[in-house]
Subunit: 337 residues, 2 copies
Amino acid sequence: MSTVRILNAKEIERLFHLDMAVAAVERAYRQKSEGAGQVWPMVFHEFQHGVADLDIKSGDLMAEQIFGLKVVSWFGENGEKNLPALFGTSLLFDRCTGEPKALLNAGPITGLRTGAAAAVGAKALARPESESLLMVGCGHQSPYLIAATLYVMPGIRRVQVANAKNPARAAEALPALTEKVAALLSACGAERDYTVTAAADLEAAVRESDVILTATPSYEPLIRAGWVRPGTHLSCIGADMSGKEELDPELFHTAKAFGDDAAQCFSVGECEKPHAAGILGSLTEIGDVLTGKAPGRQSPAEITVFDSTGIALQDLASAAVILEKAEQEGAGLTAEL
Amino acid sequence: MSTVRILNAKEIERLFHLDMAVAAVERAYRQKSEGAGQVWPMVFHEFQHGVADLDIKSGDLMAEQIFGLKVVSWFGENGEKNLPALFGTSLLFDRCTGEPKALLNAGPITGLRTGAAAAVGAKALARPESESLLMVGCGHQSPYLIAATLYVMPGIRRVQVANAKNPARAAEALPALTEKVAALLSACGAERDYTVTAAADLEAAVRESDVILTATPSYEPLIRAGWVRPGTHLSCIGADMSGKEELDPELFHTAKAFGDDAAQCFSVGECEKPHAAGILGSLTEIGDVLTGKAPGRQSPAEITVFDSTGIALQDLASAAVILEKAEQEGAGLTAEL
């Protein structure tokens, strides 16, 4: 029988912090570039269009000696049953023996690893002297993106939060969001000096920001190409399904595109529409920038876009580091399978 | 947090028996035919050719209100580490909410559900008056196939076991195999009256058998077309990967082909080579025979072949019935995820 460690949401929240997520995601991108990490075909199923779906993302992380999968199920009508709409469940295996090793509630991993992805893109591609950050979207993901970016770019002093459709929503969300950002930074002992305000006007906020993060469920451009000033970096995580977009495809006439997985960016990411329209021919994978195989930003005036669609290796690398810590501490439950 | 039930190998061996496996597999085939069960694309990965591989089979079983997956990893060099080469791990979810429900060691399920598949094919397609059974292959799977077929076809009186390459191996394997067959039948309270002997000559045994089961890892035909007498039924479970075969493709000039999943049978099953050679144009799915949508055997002289490649729904239906029994008994471990 195999011994399997079971880590629930509470344990993972206790064990896993921003600094670990940033390191894990950066490692995952590097390993993909070095051929030490492999993404297997994704299984996607819609139980009912717009009501319930699921995906199974799996892959192999040789350097961490694990392989595994994450099942994300979204059941939009769960609220009526007082249940969360989203469940994330990860299963990890030992890469030397194929033996099951761990079952994890991947819910608390997703926020941190997604925030870390946007931040790793910003750190690699934004101008190092960047001082102003704009977060477009004020939902569940936003504090994770802001905190992770503040963590990796301590020079950022001003954070604005915008809701593209309804500016009042950003102001309403601000107190809880600010508190969560502070808690995420403090949980990993990071002290940062910054202000957070709500943006009254999206265009004006875009025009004055060095780094822009987007995390919305939009199916139409929110940011016009003409608004983005030279030297801006954008990390976009909203587009993760065919048809979704947050940026004006015209932006890619001048902006340089980067992504986590080229094929996935062109099929479901922010790059899907500019690619289909023939505006964008190719993109550079972020892992190749991190390992020095490909150049990143080449001038202070360049506009850079990082299209983060989400890959299994981010989850696997995060799960691996959580599992290592849990094993050291003897945390969670172990069961004979 | 979700409550997940964890069922290990010992619990599953205690809870799950032949009668349940036969009923579950038959239900799975019917549900596929009725559109109430759906198989999602399989993920297959070879870590190292001939040394280590894995597959992830997933699907949706609406009637049982579950969806889920099974990961089977095979690491051929595990023997050196005193570990089994094969691990099977299943994860089940509630189809109404997407919530994780159970983690199961699928190892003890696989033998029973695979034996049940061969038997369900035989029961549906063999001549009801069949009395003689030949098992080609004397490995781990064989007792499950024999016992399940004896269970569903109580008229069978004579069982022969053959090893195609080395007849002595069948004689050596006989005592343990016979004991296991008896234990499997007795575990579900089934009494059958039969003899089991080792076949000295494969051709002679084929020529005198009503029902033939094959479960070998062969990549070349073991049974010649000319050996199979009119009226014979063959259930073949060995071919589960491109290139594998146990029957002479020429047999399909006269035999009528049935399978669990047409696309999978043509890509990895016993039907792959006769289909590629243009001998076999189409096959009937067993579920359509069970639901009466398509005819099965149409005359006592017909030769019928059931190609069982293994589908996720067999595992899901088996896991569902195990989980239901475990919940009633409060068996296994429950963990808050």
